[in-house]
């Protein structure tokens, strides 16, 4: 029975990891839904978010060890980081992607890669290359329930992710802006004719996606530490998650993130391969999904018309 409990433990860890992937994947999927381009700089925005969160948190905290203030400071830091990343995302869109909206498809992709270089190396220049630990805003002793251990930061990750996803879903489905976003991703020229300010919608999409990435970055830094290169792999995997779920589909990104997290966590022990091959599992899953159902699990099958 010990093995079953072990697998349940991997499963639980996978859900936490998947929740982080899902948050980041949402940014990729929203941008792709509207602009049809892979925002390679998204992973680095999550790194910027983690650094902003860390710096704000340590600055707010000072020498205080008051438990309640630690939690408040943590959430304040998260809000500051979200706001900062939202502005950064909008700024990057204005400067680096907007002039290329009518160029060939590769131009914005390369521009995004350029932005990614600037952000990751800028951070490495300012903060140095060594990674830092994000201090827990609470006592992080694992809680053991029926042989399964769950740490408070895992609970925090899951709770924050669920709240973010609910807020986002209701924003997209209930508000005017959300409706405009859905319309723009369906058909940009028509929605422009209907009086939707497409530029504003695109800006908002980048702002929301980047804010979610900031949250994902802060939550990820509990597990992965904060470093200038943390965004590359996490970003790539989140993108894989978005594709698995069906890129352009918000529910798909959430589902894809959770699935990828679980597979990555359970896959290595299940197949009996070293955990250093975890990354290979993520990409192998991606390729299998792409071959079986190229539009992802929840993606719509778009037929090409001549």
């Amino acid at each position: 029975m010990t093995t079953l409990i072990q697998y349940l433990q991997y499963f639980l860890n996978g859900i936490t990891l998947g929740a982080i992937y899902a948050l980041i994947a949402l940014g990729y999927t929203m941008v792709y839904g509207i602009l049809k381009f892979i925002n390679f700089a998204h992973g680095d925005i999550l790194m910027v978010g983690a650094y902003t969160g860390l710096l704000t948190y340590t600055a707010l905290l000072g020498d205080s060890t008051n438990g309640a203030w630690m939690l408040i400071a943590f959430f304040l830091a998260m809000l500051v980081s979200m706001a900062f990343c939202a502005i950064l995302g909008m700024f990057i869109e204005k400067v680096a992607y907007k002039p290329l909206r009518n160029a060939n498809r590769l131009a914005p992709l390369l521009s995004a890669i350029g932005v990614s270089f600037i952000l990751s190396n800028g951070a490495a220049w300012i903060f140095g290359t060594q990674s830092r630990r994000f201090p827990y805003p609470f006592d992080d002793t694992p809680i053991v329930i029926a042989g399964l251990s769950i740490t408070p930061h895992q609970i925090l990750t899951i709770v924050v992710s669920i709240i973010m996803m609910i807020v986002l879903t209701s924003f997209v489905n209930k508000t005017r802006m959300g409706k405009a976003m859905r319309a723009t991703s369906l058909d940009q020229p028509t929605s422009e004719l209907m009086g939707i300010d497409v530029n504003h919608v695109i800006s908002m999409t980048f702002a929301i996606g980047s804010a979610l990435a900031a949250v994902g970055g802060i939550l990820a830094s509990f597990d992965f530490r904060v470093s200038a290169s943390m965004g590359t792999m996490t970003g790539l995997k989140a993108f894989v998650a978005a594709v698995i779920g069906g890129i352009g589909n918000i529910q798909g990104a959430m589902l894809g993130g959770i699935i990828l997290g679980i597979l990555e966590s359970v896959g290595a022990p299940l197949l009996g391969i070293p955990s250093s091959l975890r990354d290979a599992i993520a990409f192998a899953v991606l390729i299998i999904i792409l071959l079986v159902k190229p539009d992802g699990i929840l993606g719509k099958n778009e037929r090409e018309k001549v």
Binding site: K36, A96, L100, S116, I118, N121, F283, A284
Partner: protein, 313 residues
């Protein structure tokens, strides 16, 4: 300084070979692939293993490295080329990462002191850079001419047709799958050749040097120079290498940190893409019947608004 210039030219030559391969895949046939690091890796390993463990000479290992990469390209290509555009990009990206992860897990240190390349009893060593430059750029020239011929042949026109409109190409009797896989295998094989030269020059193979960034850099060279334009991708390779090694070249590597170079590189990418989204030299217009001479075209390029834009339609 001269030493460094020579080093840059050697690396630019190796990367130019890769860029020629990537150009065949992305520039001619219009497939967005991001696993040239994987082909580079296979080529490097093939040469290292053959020369070190089996006593092959460099020249014997060269075609085998190309064939090995070509076979890998075929294996990757057959299942993934059904995918379109961005999906292909992600699938190939994933495969490139898988190759690197597996290589790291099999042998994390790689190979050291691989035997040097010999030609008519002459030994190419890393110390005599001029000879190595000649060797590599001779190959760049050969492959440039070969691919230029390919682009202007029936094959190249079929690839261009696929790039412009797959459905239209298919309805004109072009076997799209065959040409796509063919272009992919060719591009992969050239990536293998580049890997072979890398091993011959550095005499070491290390799995950590085949990251996703290498694939991105090769793609940058192709897009920066101008897709589907043989001269342009070689120029792109030179420019990217010059930017990457600029501080070392001017002897300021102690003043300018490595990150600053990368930031400049990123800035260059963004600015160049906004200024010239079609790449520095743009597409090779000659093929579509541009009647202007080279001089006229040069003038036209610097004027930016040439009167005879595009020539006769």
């Amino acid at each position: 300084m001269v030493n460094f210039l020579q080093l840059i030219i050697i690396y630019a030559g190796i990367y130019a070979l890769m860029a020629i391969g990537q150009n065949c895949i992305t520039g001619y046939t219009g497939m967005l692939s991001l696993c040239h690091a994987g082909f580079f890796c296979i080529g490097s390993y093939a040469t290292a293993i053959l020369c070190k463990d089996f006593g092959f000479s460099f020249w014997a290992s060269l075609p085998i490295a190309a064939i090995a990469s070509g076979i890998l390209g075929f294996l990757i290509g057959v299942p993934t080329l059904r995918l379109k555009g961005d999906y292909l990009c992600i699938a190939t990206l994933g495969l490139g990462e898988i190759i690197r992860t597996v290589a790291t897990n099999l042998n994390p240190v790689g190979y050291q002191s691989v035997p040097r390349a010999m030609l008519f009893g002459y030994q190419f060593s890393a110390r005599n850079k001029v000879q190595f430059i000649l060797l590599i750029w001779a190959f760049v020239l050969i492959f440039y001419i070969l691919f230029q011929q390919l682009a202007h042949s029936r094959l190249g026109r079929a690839m261009a047709a696929i790039r412009e409109d797959e459905v239209a190409a298919q309805s004109n009797g072009i076997n799209v799958t065959k040409y796509k896989i063919g272009a992919f295998v060719l591009g992969a094989a050239i990536g293998g050749v580049a890997g072979c030269f890398m091993t011959a020059y550095t005499q070491t193979v290390n799995p950590s040097s085949f990251t996703f960034m290498v694939s991105v850099m090769v793609l940058c060279m192709v897009v920066l120079g101008g897709m589907g334009n043989g001269k342009a991708v070689i120029l792109g390779a030179l420019i990217v290498q010059f930017i990457s090694y600029f501080p070392q070249l001017v002897g300021l590597s102690s003043v300018i940190p490595a990150q600053a170079t990368q930031i400049i590189y990123g800035l260059c990418l963004v600015v160049l893409m906004i200024w010239r989204p079609q790449g520095l030299l743009g597409r090779d217009k000659y093929r579509y019947g541009d009647p202007r001479s080279t001089k006229e075209r040069l003038v036209g390029f610097f004027k930016r608004n040439p009167e005879k834009k595009g020539g006769r339609a």
